[in-house]
């Protein structure tokens, strides 16, 4: 279980997170949603130890601030938003950076990068130069690297965690679904997934739990069906939104309403 209590984060003397509580469970896909500037990415960065924070973050019972980076890297992997690459690495070389700790020493280590690439739909891309890929392809290559880092969702009974910052932002609809399914599969296999999302419909379709943020606080949390109501969403985003239920799936989808 990932648990944050009374979390405060300030950047440039401006308080971005104003004392929020957050919980995510292993085995579930938890999505963080909210309008621009509500603090989604800041929350993710605090949860992964990238930003200094006040308060407490516990990952499966241990205090995050007491973890060494090399131990932490064995328990969770993080996909940041965009990262310009400094040098002309090949796709294989980038993905292989995800081989850390025990995975790197395992017998199948040589074959794993290829399999990770296949899972994100980049078969045969090993020899391409990373810098020459399209934005979406680069994002998926990074996802393959991150997947490799926590290849087994559960190790010795302990779950491993994936933190994804807008994993589908630059992707076409086909690859959006592929990546969301991948995250869902990781959670189904016992791992924990925390993803910052923009697309409410994709979130509604795949998330097990939703955390809706507004202005550095949590506005609502729970199952998508419970959080995504006309009232809550319209308040959070400051615009008229209508939640509907489609005939077959039984999930919800959100329709923007033209101004009255």
């Amino acid at each position: 279980m990932l648990q944050a209590l009374d979390l405060h984060v300030s950047l440039n003397r401006q308080e971005i997170l104003r004392g929020l509580d957050f919980t995510a469970h292993a085995g579930a896909l938890t999505c963080i949603v909210g309008p621009n500037g509500s603090g989604k990415t800041t929350l993710l960065k605090a949860l992964t130890g990238e930003l200094p924070y006040a308060g407490q973050v516990r990952l499966d019972g241990t205090d995050l601030s007491r973890q060494r980076p090399e131990d932490l890297a064995q328990r969770r992997a993080v996909l940041p938003q965009s990262m310009p690459l400094a040098f002309p690495f090949t796709v294989l070389e980038i993905v292989r950076l995800g081989l850390t700790g025990a995975t790197a020493l395992s017998a199948q280590a040589a074959d794993l990068p290829r399999r990770a690439l296949a899972r994100v739909g980049l078969e045969g891309y090993e020899g391409r130069l990373f810098q020459q890929l399209s934005g979406g392809e680069q994002q998926r290559a990074h996802l393959a690297r991150v997947l490799l880092q926590v290849w087994q969702p559960v190790v010795d009974g302990q779950p491993r965690w994936l933190f994804l910052d807008e994993p589908v932002a630059a992707l076409d609809i086909g690859h959006q679904l592929q990546v969301m399914r991948l995250a869902q599969d990781f959670a189904r296999a016992g791992g924990g997934v925390v993803a910052v999302m923009h697309d409410l419909n994709l979130t509604a379709l795949f998330a097990d739990a939703v955390c809706l943020m507004q202005a550095g606080r949590v506005l609502a949390t729970g199952a998508p069906g419970a959080v995504f109501t006309d009232q809550t969403l319209s308040t959070a985003y400051g615009c008229a939104l209508k939640v509907s239920t489609p005939p077959p799936g039984g999930g919800v989808y959100i329709l923007p309403q033209a101004a009255a």
Binding site: K45, T48, G49, E50, R68, P69, E70, D71, L72, A73, Q74, R76, A77, V78, P80, M83, P84, L85, A86, F87, P88, F89, T90, V91, L92, E93, I94, L97, G98, T100, G101, G124, Y125, E126, G127, R128, L129, Q131, Q149
Partner: protein, 349 residues
């Protein structure tokens, strides 16, 4: 790049890089042997070896030329070349930019300021000795590198434009410091400084090498331990941290290694330019940017190039000598310009 697709394991340049390392190692041995055999005095290495093996004894003049002139010069050249090239590769990895170079961004100038301090003020200090100049050069290089990193890095992101401009400012500042000292220097010190600035291995001796050598070696030995971290760092500091790298510690060690190597190299050889930027660039084209191979390959190619340049410097105007900095600048500057032209459009500052 097309050839990459036809290798057994596409995208895996490690086999090619290993081959390149062996080839460079062999090339270094060969260059070293030629460098020992070539010189103004026309002492023939095979002849000396034959005399020595047959027990005839080697003449005093031959022995001094080989063991006290050419050999320490060979080793110094190799260490200076390796140090400058590895420092360049480390800097570029640390700043995540292929244009970072100790010479371009003022680290050498800082080391130079330290060295000049020691040369000019050395006489009035209560302590000193042969360790003073390399130590002062190291401190100068370290200071500039630290300031540079502080100025150009905000929230884990290094702004390269800031870095280059700050480097220019710091180099100018170091230059001004040098100017103040030069105004204090007497005529003899002044002319020494001029020649020292051009870069030369002419004053090399075992005594100097025994002081600067271990410092350069320490920097070279530290470098390979940073290779994995630098690979991860090319994704950005945050990504490196998430991959389990202790980013802050890696940065400190890298800065120390660069300052030590460049400081000692500058102290013993003066201003030798372009090795640090041209060598890693060429190698990235050949074997890719993986630092596990790039760092040792830079050490080898840097050593080969500097030994070669020193050979040219020793022989071309014999019995006089050309300052080696002139040779490296003559050869390095056009290559650097060519690299820039080639990359135009791909690299943005």
């Amino acid at each position: 790049m097309v050839a990459l697709r036809f290798t057994a394991n596409p995208g895996d340049r490690a086999p090619r890089a290993r081959l390149a390392l062996w080839a460079l190692g062999l090339l270094l041995l060969l260059t070293g042997a030629v460098s020992l055999a070539v010189g103004a005095a026309g002492v023939s290495l095979p002849q000396v070896l034959a005399d020595w093996l047959s027990g005839d004894g080697v003449g005093l003049r031959e022995r001094v030329i080989l063991t006290d002139i050419r050999l320490p010069r060979l080793l110094t050249g190799a260490l200076v070349g390796a140090s400058l090239a590895v420092s360049g590769a480390l800097m570029q990895g640390l700043f995540r930019n292929p244009l970072a170079d100790p010479g371009l961004i003022g680290v050498s100038a800082g080391a130079g300021l330290g060295a000049i301090c020691a040369i000019v003020l050395g006489g009035v200090l209560p302590f000193g000795g042969p360790h003073l100049v390399p130590l002062a050069a190291f401190l100068g290089g370290w200071g500039v590198t630290m300031i540079l990193y502080r100025i150009s890095t905000r929230a884990g992101r290094t702004s390269v434009a800031t870095m280059l401009l700050a480097g220019i400012a710091l180099a100018a500042l170091a230059g001004a410091g040098q100017g103040v000292l030069i105004a204090r220097a007497d005529d003899a010190q002044l002319r020494d400084l001029t020649f020292w600035n051009l870069g030369s291995l002419a004053g090399t001796s075992w005594a100097k090498l025994s002081v600067a050598g271990p410092v350069m070696l320490a920097g070279l030995i530290a470098a390979p331990f940073l290779a994995r971290a630098l690979n991860a760092l090319s994704l950005g500091e945050a990504a490196a941290m998430h991959l389990g790298i202790r980013v802050q510690r890696v940065k400190s060690v890298a800065v120390l290694a660069v300052a030590a190597s460049v400081g000692a190299a500058v102290a013993i050889s003066g201003g030798v330019g372009f090795v640090g930027i041209v060598v890693p660039h060429l190698l990235r084209l050949a074997i890719g940017p993986d630092h596990r191979f790039l760092l040792p390959a830079s050490a080898l190619l840097g050593a080969v190039l500097l030994i070669g340049a020193d050979m040219v410097a020793r022989v071309i105007v014999a019995p006089a000598e050309l300052p080696i900095g002139i040779v490296t600048a003559l050869a390095g500057a056009p290559v650097f310009l060519w690299l820039l032209l080639r990359k135009r459009g791909l690299v943005d500052l």
